[in-house]
C-alpha cells in the first residue's frame, strides 16, 4: 500500500474535480488532462492496496470529526476509513472502470458544451463513490451515498435544456421524458429508499450508540436490546433494505433506472451500470457479517431480512428481464438488464444469509458484481458508440452494422455472451456460483426464478446483438446514407476502453474458478462462521456444480434457440407471432408498459400529490384558514366597530346623559362594595 492510500484514493479525484475547474480557465486540453490524470491517480492508489487484499489484512484509520457526541454518552463519531478486503475490492472495481470510462469520455463527449461541468461531476462522482466504499461508519457512508446520488442527478440531467434529441422513452403513445425530469426522478425515488434506511440506522443507533461498522460488529449487546421488542428487528430489517433497494434500483424502487439513460452514455456506463448501482449491494455486503451473525446466534427475526432480500432480488431479476425482452431502446435493454443482474446479486446475498456458512453465496454475489461491472461497462460504452454512429436510441433504427463497425461488433458480442453466462466468460462463472449456492442452500424456488431469468437474459441479449449488427440496415440508416452521413467505426480513444474491458471479461473468465476460490479464501476470514445446529443436508447425488452447469446450459438453449430462429434465420416475424396470439400480445404489452408500475407511481406519487397540494391550497389554505383570519375576523371587528361607533354621536346633551349615568353606576358600585 502506498502511504496514505486509503485517504488519497478518494481525495485525489476530489481534488481533481476542483483543479479541473481551475484548469479550464487555461485550456480545454489541460482540463481534460487534469481530469484524466486525477482519476488515474485513484487507480494507482486502489491498485497499491491489492497486496493487503490478498493477505486479507484489515487496517482502520481514523481522524477526529464529531467528538462532542461522547458528551451524550454516545460513541464518538470519527472520520474513519476501513481498509479490508471488501473495501479494497470495491475501490479497485470502481476506480479502474471509472478510468476506462473517463478515457472513453474524451472521445465520446468531444464537442459538447458544458464539459467543465461534466469533468467536475465525473471526478466528484468517483471521489464520492470511493469515499462510500472506504467509510467505516454510516454517517460518512451516507455522505458518499448521497454524493453519488447528487452526481447521478446532475449527470442524468446533463443536457438540462431538454432538447428533443436527448429525451428517452417513446415512441408515442409511450411517454418520453426530458433529461432534467429523469435526473429528478432518479434523485427522488432513491431518496424515498434512503429515508427508510435512515430510520433503520437511527433505530440501531439508539440501541448501539454508535454508527461505526467495527463497533457494531464488535458487540451483540445492542442486538439483544433490539430483540427485546418483538417485531423491532423485522422493522429495522425492512427499513434498512429500502436504501440499498433504492440505490440499486430493486423493486419497488427500480423505476428510476430506465429513465437514467437520458444522460450521456458514458454516464450510464459508469454510474448506472458499473459502479453506483452496486452501492446497494456493497452496503448489504458491508453489514452482512453483522446481520448474519445475529441471525445464526438465534435472533431469528433477522431471517426476514434475508428472505426479503433474496425474494425481492429474484423478483426484480425476472421482472426486469421481461421488460428487456420487449424494449426497443438499446440503452434501455441494457438498463433493464442491469436491474436484473443486480437482482441476482441481491438474491445471492439473501441466500448466503440463510445458510450458516454464508461465504458461498456472499462470494458469488461479490464475484458477480465484479464480472457484471466489467461486461456491463463495456456493453454500455459500445452502445454509446453505436448511438453516436447511428444518431438513434432505438434498436429498430439499426441493423446490419457488423460490416461497418467490426471492432464494436466483436467486443459487444463477447461482453453480451458474458452477460448471458456463456462459458468460459466471466459472467458464466459468477452466475454459476450463484446457482450453486442456491442449490447448496436448498432454495429451489429461488433457483427456478434465477434459471428462468437466465434463459430470458440470453434471449434478449441475442435479440439486441442480432437486431443491431445483423440483417438489413433500417430505413433510418438508409436515409442517413442518402443524406451523406456514413456509419463508421468509433475512434481509437473510444474503442480501446471498451475493448480492454471486453478483454477483461475474457481474462476473468479464463481465471474464473481460480479467482472464485481465492475470493472465498479471503472473504471467509471476513465472515464469522457460526456452527449450525441444524442437521447436515445429505450430500446430493449430482455435485451442485455440475447440476448448475447443466441447468444453465439448458437455459441457454431455451433462450438462445428462439432468438436464433427469430432474428438470424428469420423463420418468423417476431411481431407477427405476438400479434397473432392474444396471450402473447397481452403479455408483451404488459411488459412494454413496465408492468404498469411506472404509470401507477406517476399517478399516485406525482400527479396525486401535486393535485392534492393544489386542492388543499385552494380549499383549506385559501378558503378556510386565510378567510378566517383575513376576511371573517376583520369583518367581525368592523361589525363591532360599526355598532359601537353609534355611541359616539358628538351631541353634547347625549354625552352629558352618559356621564351622569356613568357616575350613578359608579356610586351604586361603591355603595355595594361598602355593604360587603
Amino acid at each position: 500500500m502506498l502511504p496514505y492510500a486509503p485517504w488519497l484514493v478518494w481525495f485525489l479525484p476530489l481534488a481533481g474535480a476542483l483543479i479541473s475547474i481551475v484548469a479550464s480557465k487555461f485550456s480545454s486540453k489541460l482540463r481534460d488532462g487534469v481530469a484524466l490524470a486525477f482519476s488515474f491517480a485513484a487507480v494507482v492508489m486502489a491498485v497499491s492496496m491489492i497486496p493487503e487484499l490478498l493477505l486479507g489484512i484489515t487496517i482502520h484509520e481514523e481522524a477526529k470529526w464529531l467528538p462532542s457526541l461522547s458528551a451524550l454518552g454516545l460513541s464518538e463519531l470519527r472520520f474513519g476509513l476501513l481498509v479490508d478486503p471488501l473495501s479494497i475490492f470495491m475501490a479497485n472495481v470502481v476506480s479502474i472502470i471509472s478510468f476506462a470510462v473517463m478515457v472513453y469520455s474524451i472521445g465520446y463527449m468531444k464537442g459538447e458544451s458544458g464539459l467543465t461541468r461534466y469533468w467536475f461531476l465525473m471526478n466528484f462522482f468517483i471521489a464520492n463513490m470511493l469515499l462510500l466504499v472506504m467509510s467505516d461508519n454510516f454517517i460518512q457512508l451516507l455522505i458518499g451515498w448521497e454524493g453519488v446520488g447528487l452526481c447521478s442527478y446532475a449527470l442524468i440531467g446533463f443536457w438540462y435544456s431538454d432538447e428533443r434529441e436527448h429525451w428517452v422513452g417513446g415512441p408515442a403513445p409511450t411517454p418520453a421524458y426530458p433529461p432534467s425530469h429523469c435526473g429528478m426522478k432518479a434523485f427522488i425515488i432513491t431518496r424515498v429508499g434512503d429515508a427508510a434506511l435512515l430510520v433503520a440506522i437511527f433505530i440501531i443507533y439508539v440501541y448501539s450508540k454508535t454508527f461505526s461498522f467495527t463497533e457494531l460488529q464488535g458487540s451483540t449487546q445492542w442486538i439483544s436490546a433490539l430483540g427485546n421488542t418483538p417485531g423491532l428487528i423485522t422493522l429495522v430489517s425492512l427499513l434498512f433494505l429500502g436504501g440499498p433497494f433504492g440505490k440499486s434500483a430493486q423493486f419497488p424502487f427500480h423505476e428510476w433506472l430506465p429513465e437514467a439513460m437520458a444522460g450521456p452514455t458514458s454516464v450510464s456506463a459508469l454510474i448506472h451500470a458499473a459502479t453506483m448501482v452496486n452501492a446497494g449491494v456493497y452496503l448489504i455486503a458491508r453489514v452482512f457479517p453483522i446481520f448474519h451473525t445475529a441471525y445464526w446466534l438465534g435472533y431469528t427475526e433477522f431471517m426476514n431480512f434475508f428472505v426479503v432480500l433474496a425474494w425481492v432480488g429474484a423478483f426484480t431479476a425476472i421482472m426486469a428481464a421481461t421488460q428487456a425482452i420487449v424494449a426497443l431502446e438499446l440503452k434501455k435493454i441494457l438498463a433493464y438488464s442491469t436491474i436484473s443482474q443486480i437482482g441476482y446479486m441481491m438474491l445471492a446475498l439473501g441466500i448466503a444469509g440463510l445458510t450458516a456458512e454464508g461465504v458461498e453465496g456472499y462470494v458469488s454475489s461479490i464475484f458477480h458484481l465484479l464480472s457484471h461491472a466489467v461486461f456491463k461497462a463495456s456493453l454500455f460504452l459500445a452502445a454509446g458508440a453505436i448511438i453516436h454512429a447511428t444518431h438513434s436510441i432505438y434498436v429498430t433504427d439499426t441493423g446490419g452494422l457488423r460490416g461497418k463497425m467490426q471492432k464494436t461488433f466483436w467486443f459487444m458480442l463477447i461482453t453480451a455472451l458474458s452477460l448471458s453466462g456463456v462459458p468460459p466468460l466471466s459472467g458464466f462463472w459468477s452466475k454459476d456460483a450463484i446457482l450453486v449456492s442456491a442449490i447448496e442452500a436448498g432454495q429451489y424456488g429461488l433457483l427456478a426464478v434465477a434459471l428462468a431469468t437466465s434463459a430470458m437474459t440470453f434471449f434478449y441479449t441475442l435479440r439486441m446483438i442480432f437486431r443491431t449488427f445483423l440483417g438489413e440496415p433500417s430505413l433510418h440508416l438508409k436515409e442517413m446514407e442518402r443524406e451523406g452521413h456514413h456509419v463508421h467505426e468509433s475512434p481509437k480513444i473510444m474503442w480501446i476502453p471498451y475493448g480492454a474491458l471486453a478483454l477483461g471479461t475474457i481474462v476473468i473468465g479464463l481465471s474464473g474458478p481460480f479467482l472464485e476460490d481465492h475470493l472465498k479464501d479471503i472473504f471467509s476470514k471476513l465472515l464469522v462462521t457460526v456452527e449450525s445446529s441444524g442437521s447436515i443436508i445429505a450430500s446430493p447425488i449430482i455435485p451442485p456444480f455440475y447440476l448448475a452447469l447443466s441447468l444453465s446450459l439448458a437455459m441457454l438453449m431455451i433462450g438462445g434457440i428462439p432468438a436464433y430462429l427469430l432474428y438470424v434465420r428469420r423463420r418468423a416475424d417476431s411481431q407477427g407471432i405476438v400479434d397473432k396470439n392474444p396471450l402473447l400480445k397481452n403479455l408483451s404489452s404488459f411488459f412494454w408498459n413496465r408492468w404498469h408500475i411506472n404509470s401507477l407511481y406517476y399517478r399516485l406519487f406525482v400527479n396525486n400529490v401535486i393535485a392534492f397540494g393544489r386542492k388543499t391550497y385552494d380549499a383549506l389554505e385559501t378558503r378556510v384558514i386565510d378567510r378566517a383570519f383575513n376576511i371573517i375576523l376583520p369583518g367581525l371587528m368592523i361589525g363591532l366597530y360599526n355598532r359601537f361607533k353609534r355611541l359616539q354621536t358628538g351631541v353634547l346633551s347625549y354625552n352629558m346623559v352618559a356621564v351622569v349615568l356613568a357616575l350613578l353606576f359608579i356610586i351604586l358600585m361603591l355603595m355595594n362594595f361598602g355593604r360587603f
Binding site: 426530458p178 437511527f202 397540494g613 384558514i625
Partner: protein
C-alpha cells in the same frame, strides 16, 4: 462586570456599535445615498468578528457573560450571555445580516429607483436594517425577561417599517397584518413573563426554573402562554397565515432575514425560556408538539408544491422547515434539540441563499416572480442556478452541506425519543417525518427544474448572472454551508455540551 473575553465588553459592543450606527447611517445616508450601505457594513463586520473571536472562550469556558447596571430600583441588570446555544445563533444572524447588506445595495437601489424614492429612502432602509439586526442579536443574548421582551419587540418595528415601505403588492396592509400577528404573539409571551415575576421575584431567565417548583400549575400555564407566543413567531400550522404574505411581499433581502433568521428565533426562545426552566412541563406537551410539527412539515411542503410565486413558495418552505425545528425540540432529547439549533443555522444559510436567488431573478427579469413565466435560466445565469440548487439541497439535507449534518442529528434525536419512551405514536411520527423529507427534495428540485432547466422561457434572452456585489454573498453563504457540512464540529463542539446541561 465579569468579562472573560480578551476584548473588553465585546458582547455589549456587538449590540451597541450597530445601534450607534443607526442614527449615523440615517444622517449620512441623506448625503451619500446608496453608498451608505458600505457604512452599514462596518458595524456588522465588526460585530461578526467580535462574535467569532469570542468562540474560543465559549468553547473553553462554556459561556461568556457580561452584566451592566440598568435599573437598580427594579433590581434589573442588562446582561448578555453567550453560550453554546446563543453563539451559533448570534453568529448566524450577524453573518446573514452582513452578507445580505452587500446584496441589498444593488437590489434596493433598483427598488428605490422603481418607487421613485430619494436619498432619504436609503437612509431609512439601512438604518432600519441595522436596528433590525440589533433586535435579533439582542434577543439571543438577553439574560433577563424584560430585556428579552424589549429586543423581541425591537425586531418587529424596523422589520415592519421595512416591509411596508419597500415591499411589494399591498405592502401597507400586509405590514399591518405582520405587525398585529407578531405583536399578539409577543403579548402572549408578555403575559407569561408577567405571571412569572410575582412568584419568582426576578426577571432573570436563570431564575425562571424556580417557578416550576414553587407553583407547578402556574408553570404549566406560563409555558403554554410562552409556547403559543413563540409558535406564532415560528408560524406553525394554523397560525401561519401571516407568514406567506409578509415573507413574499417584503423586499427580498429582508425576506432573506425574516424567513430563516427571525422566525427561527421562536425555536431558540422555546429552548431558552420553556425547555430550560420548565423541561418537565414541556415534555408533557411533547406528544401534541410532535403531531403539530409533523403537520407543519407536511402542510408547508404541500403548499410549497402548489405555489407559482417563487417568494411565496419559499415562504411556505420556511413554514415546513419550522416544523423540522419544532420536531427536534419536541423530541426532548439532546440530539434532537442540538439538531434543531444546528438546523436553524443550516436553514438560515440555505434560505438566505434561496431568497437571494429569488431576488436576483426579480432583479434580472424586471420583476418576474411567477415560476410559470420562467424556465431554462441555467444557460443564462449558471451561477444563480448553482446557488438555487445548493440552497434547496441544503434544506433537503443533502451532504456535504450543513443541512445533512443538522438533519441527521435532529432525526436521530426524534427516533431516540420514540424508542426510549416506547411511544408508538412518536415512532410513527418520526418515520413519517423522515419520509416527508422527500417532499422537501421534491418541491425543491421541481422548482429548480421549472426555473432553470428546459427550454428558455419567452422574454428571458437578456437575463444574466447578477453583479458581483450580489454574487459575493451567495458564494460566502455556500462556502459556509459547505464547511459546516464537512466539519460540523465547528457548531456541535459548543452546542452539544451546552444542550446536555439544559436537559434533566
Amino acid at each position: 462586570m465579569s468579562s472573560l473575553n480578551p476584548i473588553p465588553s465585546s458582547l455589549l459592543q456587538v449590540l451597541l456599535v450597530p445601534a450607534v450606527f443607526v442614527p449615523l447611517v440615517y444622517l449620512l445616508g441623506r448625503r451619500m445615498g446608496k453608498n451608505v450601505g458600505y457604512v452599514a457594513l462596518i458595524p456588522l463586520a465588526y460585530a461578526t468578528a467580535l462574535l467569532a473571536f469570542s468562540a474560543p472562550s465559549v468553547l473553553s469556558q462554556g459561556r461568556v457573560t457580561e452584566e451592566y447596571l440598568w435599573a437598580p430600583i427594579a433590581g434589573l441588570n442588562f446582561g448578555f450571555l453567550l453560550d453554546g446555544i446563543s453563539l451559533p445563533l448570534a453568529l448566524t444572524i450577524v453573518f446573514l445580516c452582513l452578507v445580505t447588506t452587500l446584496f441589498s445595495m444593488p437590489y434596493i437601489e433598483h427598488k428605490i429607483n422603481e418607487q421613485g424614492g430619494d436619498n432619504t429612502a436609503y437612509s431609512i432602509y439601512f438604518s432600519m436594517y441595522l436596528l433590525y439586526t440589533v433586535g435579533m442579536v439582542g434577543t439571543v443574548l438577553a439574560t433577563n425577561l424584560v430585556e428579552f421582551y424589549l429586543f423581541y419587540e425591537l425586531m418587529l418595528i424596523p422589520s415592519w417599517l421595512l416591509l411596508s415601505t419597500f415591499g411589494y403588492g399591498q405592502k401597507e396592509r400586509i405590514g399591518i397584518m405582520y405587525f398585529l400577528w407578531t405583536h399578539i404573539g409577543a403579548l402572549s409571551v408578555l403575559a407569561g413573563i408577567l405571571a412569572i415575576f410575582p412568584v419568582v421575584g426576578s426577571f432573570e431567565i436563570a431564575d425562571m426554573h424556580i417557578l416550576a417548583s414553587a407553583n407547578p400549575q402556574l408553570a404549566a400555564w406560563v409555558s403554554a402562554a410562552l409556547l403559543l407566543g413563540f409558535l406564532v413567531k415560528m408560524a406553525v400550522f394554523g397560525i401561519h397565515v401571516w407568514l406567506p404574505y409578509a415573507h413574499a411581499e417584503a423586499p427580498t433581502p429582508i425576506s432573506a432575514l425574516l424567513s430563516p433568521a427571525m422566525i427561527g428565533l421562536g425555536a431558540y426562545a422555546i429552548v431558552r425560556l420553556v425547555i430550560t426552566p420548565f423541561g418537565g412541563v414541556f415534555n408533557s406537551f411533547s406528544d401534541i408538539l410532535f403531531i403539530w410539527a409533523l403537520v407543519t412539515m407536511v402542510y408547508g411542503g404541500l403548499m410549497a408544491l402548489a405555489q407559482d410565486d417563487i417568494k411565496r413558495l419559499l415562504a411556505y418552505s420556511s413554514i415546513s422547515q419550522m416544523g423540522y425545528l419544532l420536531l427536534g425540540l419536541a423530541s426532548f432529547t439532546s440530539l434532537g434539540i442540538s439538531g434543531s439549533i444546528f438546523h436553524y443555522v443550516s436553514h438560515g444559510l440555505s434560505k438566505c441563499i434561496l431568497f437571494s436567488v429569488a431576488g436576483i431573478i426579480i432583479y434580472r427579469t424586471h420583476g418576474v416572480r411567477s415560476i410559470g413565466k420562467l424556465g431554462g435560466l441555467a444557460k443564462k445565469m449558471p451561477l444563480t442556478a448553482l446557488a438555487a440548487l445548493i440552497g434547496f439541497l441544503g434544506i433537503a439535507g443533502v451532504p456535504p452541506l450543513s443541512g445533512f449534518q443538522s438533519e441527521w442529528l435532529l432525526f436521530s434525536g426524534v427516533v431516540a425519543s420514540a424508542m426510549t419512551t416506547g411511544s408508538v405514536l412518536r415512532l410513527i411520527v418520526a418515520i413519517s417525518a423522515i419520509f416527508s423529507s422527500v417532499l422537501t427534495a421534491g418541491y425543491g428540485l421541481w422548482t429548480v427544474r421549472r426555473i432553470f432547466f428546459g427550454p428558455l422561457a419567452d422574454h428571458m434572452e437578456e437575463a444574466k448572472d447578477p453583479p458581483v456585489l450580489m454574487m459575493v454573498p451567495l458564494i460566502l453563504l455556500m462556502v459556509v454551508a459547505l464547511i459546516l457540512g464537512i466539519y460540523p464540529a465547528l457548531v456541535t463542539d459548543v452546542l452539544i455540551p451546552t444542550i446536555r446541561t439544559v436537559l434533566p
